[in-house]
């Protein structure tokens, strides 16, 4: 992963010390007949950040991306991207600065990779002399550039879609489940791109339900459900909010014996590990308490088989938030 330097002109901090927001959605609502796409979505994407939208299918992630580019209008609330209304008369200016990779690569199968890139170059006002070969080379598909896209593998199609999305050097990259159905190598290429864009100070918004991808990549995580934000913020902050104290996993031969921990000094939180009867996740006011707790349990005959500090993952956070 590359070192990030997220300070471009439009990424300079504003009054509160945070970078200016590239995307600002406030109370956005969008329905599709009786179905609700976005219920009351409020979202702020700081310039130069990688913001990951996570949520189950139907949470409204794709709709949010479509609202950001102005491809969909809103029924209520306000949307501002680069300070402009993307669905209004200035929408063209917004879309010129966006690069989008949709959930399906959205490529013209009967045309060659080069044709697809040239078409994008023309739409984005770059003319037919756009650096399509360089863009293809960046994603390792330059040898297939003159082949029909219909013959590409899924991974090659995604790489081409990525090359097309960055061809015009967008300021805001929007990725909708970009690694869905990809082999590990292609997934890695996508994540490299995201990291590379962030290193260049660009702003990235990525939808995913593969939280492992977001780990270590996201500056901001937005958890969505039923078209609204359930929780949002930097991953560390979210973790601290949900698990404010250090966590230790205790496992014992007799799971019920771990209940003794609830009443012990320094224990500020106790929960059974989901799916395991013999294990508990214990939050402590201080990790230095662990030797004392182990000694106390041993003294009353509890036979421990595992004691280890635990750093919760984004996936655990997501599951806890969803099922609380």
């Amino acid at each position: 992963m590359q070192t990030r330097t997220p300070l471009r002109d439009d990424a300079l901090p504003v009054g509160d010390g945070r970078p200016a927001a590239v995307v600002e959605l406030a109370g956005v609502r969008r329905t599709f007949g009786r179905a609700t796409g976005l219920a009351d979505l409020t979202l702020s994407v700081p310039a130069g950040s990688v913001t990951v939208l996570v949520g189950p299918n139907g949470a409204g992630k794709t709709t949010a991306l479509r609202v950001i580019t102005g491809a969909l209008t809103t029924e209520a609330g306000t949307a501002r991207v680069f300070g402009l209304d993307p669905a209004g008369p200035d929408g063209e200016q917004v879309r010129r600065r966006c690069g989008v990779v949709a959930a399906k690569p959205a490529l013209y199968d009967r045309l060659t990779g080069r044709d697809n890139l040239l078409f994008a170059a023309e739409l984005f006002g770059m003319g037919r002399h756009a650096p399509v070969t360089d863009a293809a080379d960046r994603f390792g598909i330059v040898d297939a550039l003159d082949l029909k896209v219909g013959g590409y593998s899924t991974g090659m199609k995604t790489r081409l879609a990525l090359a097309r999305a960055v061809l015009h050097d967008p300021d805001l990259l929007l990725l909708d489940e970009p690694t869905s159905g990809l082999d590990p190598e292609s997934s890695h290429a996508v994540l490299e791109l995201v990291d590379g864009m962030a290193a260049d100070g660009k702003t990235v918004v990525m939808c995913t339900h593969l939280l492992l991808e977001a780990e270590g990549l996201a500056d901001e995580v937005v958890m969505m459900e039923d078209g609204t934000t359930v929780m949002a913020g930097p991953p560390e902050e979210l973790m601290r909010r949900f698990w404010p104290h250090p966590m230790v996993v205790f496992r014992a031969e007799v799971g019920a014996s771990l209940d003794r921990l609830r009443l012990m000094p320094g224990v500020v939180g106790f929960a059974r590990t989901p799916g395991r009867d013999d294990e508990a996740e214990v939050q402590l006011d201080d990790l230095a308490r662990v030797p004392g707790l182990v000694a106390s349990l041993a003294a009353v005959g509890v036979r421990l088989t595992k004691v280890s500090p635990h750093e919760p993952s984004l996936e655990e956070l997501y599951l806890r938030v969803r099922h609380r």
């Binding site: 599709f32 479509r66 491809a71 989008v100 959205a106 009967r110 078409f119 994008a120 929007l174």
Partner: protein, 272 residues
């Protein structure tokens, strides 16, 4: 309105079309059949048969034509007069059916095709305006049909002049009424049809549904334009100019209304 982007959309569609021989080959066969095969066989047959009783009966039927049209028919014999009348008056539908069939088939698929293949998502997120996309699609649908018709018309003109010309005092085709028909009457009728078909293509859910619906909608339009085209050929060239002028007015109105049918939401497959 960015014309370069509009042309980019049109070129992209035309490029896809050019790489789809399974689509354009049958269209070429249709054009060849209507513009070359059927007229050549018919005209050669009558020319070679001469004044047999059947031809004389057909020639007599020419009296049903308006006086002005009858007076314009050239030729000394019944066969000559029949071939002349067939070449000038009977094949008017060629000029209408061929472009409408080709262009309708392309237009029916053009917007819904983007939805079905998912490429509409790319267009929806692109800087191209809805109007640029609509006009690009219109041009991409109109050009193949109209150009095929113009080329077919050229070949047809050559064929009738070579077959019928020597018997009626030299090259005679296209007549002034045919020029008016080809350059003034056919284009607006084509535009009217396409404005309807593109609206359908933007609204339906599948290419199959678009083909079905456009077939139903364009049939009366073909009949109407066939009738008007024949009328324009049989009447004075002024009537052709008038028919064309009315058709242009309707076409412009239809295209303006049709432009609203192509929206970003519809390109995404969302119709609410």
């Amino acid at each position: 309105m960015n014309w370069a982007r509009m042309w980019a959309v049109a070129r992209n569609d035309l490029r896809q079309l050019a790489r789809s021989p399974d689509f354009w080959a049958p269209m070429l066969v249709l054009a060849a059949l209507f513009f070359v095969v059927i007229p050549v066989i018919l005209l050669l047959t009558i020319t070679n048969l001469g004044d047999v009783p059947t031809i004389s009966k057909v020639s007599a039927a020419l009296e049903l034509l308006p006086q002005k049209a009858q007076a314009a028919v050239r030729g000394a014999t019944a066969a000559d007069r029949t071939t002349y009348a067939l070449a000038v008056y009977l094949f008017a539908p060629l000029a209408v059916i061929v472009p409408m069939t080709i262009s309708t088939a392309i237009a029916a698929n053009t917007v819904v095709g983007e939805k079905e293949k998912g490429t509409g998502e790319f267009l929806a997120h692109s800087p191209a305006s809805e109007r640029e996309i609509y006009l690009g699609k219109l041009v991409a649908s109109l050009l193949p049909g109209y150009l095929t018709t113009l080329v077919g018309f050229g070949i047809y003109s050559l064929a009738v002049n070579l077959i019928v010309g020597p018997n009626v005092g030299g090259w005679f085709f296209p007549t002034r009424a045919w020029w008016v028909l080809m350059l003034w009457v056919v284009p607006p009728f084509l535009a009217i049809t396409l404005s309807v078909v593109l609206r359908l293509s933007a609204r339906v859910k599948s290419a199959a549904a678009a083909q079905q619906a456009s077939g139903l909608v364009t049939l009366p339009l073909i009949v109407l334009s066939y009738g008007q085209s024949t009328g324009a050929l049989l009447g004075a060239s002024r009537s052709g100019l008038m028919v064309g002028a009315i058709a242009w007015a309707v076409a412009i109105l239809g295209l303006m209304r049709g432009a609203k049918a192509v929206t970003r939401a519809r390109l995404l497959g969302i119709d609410t």
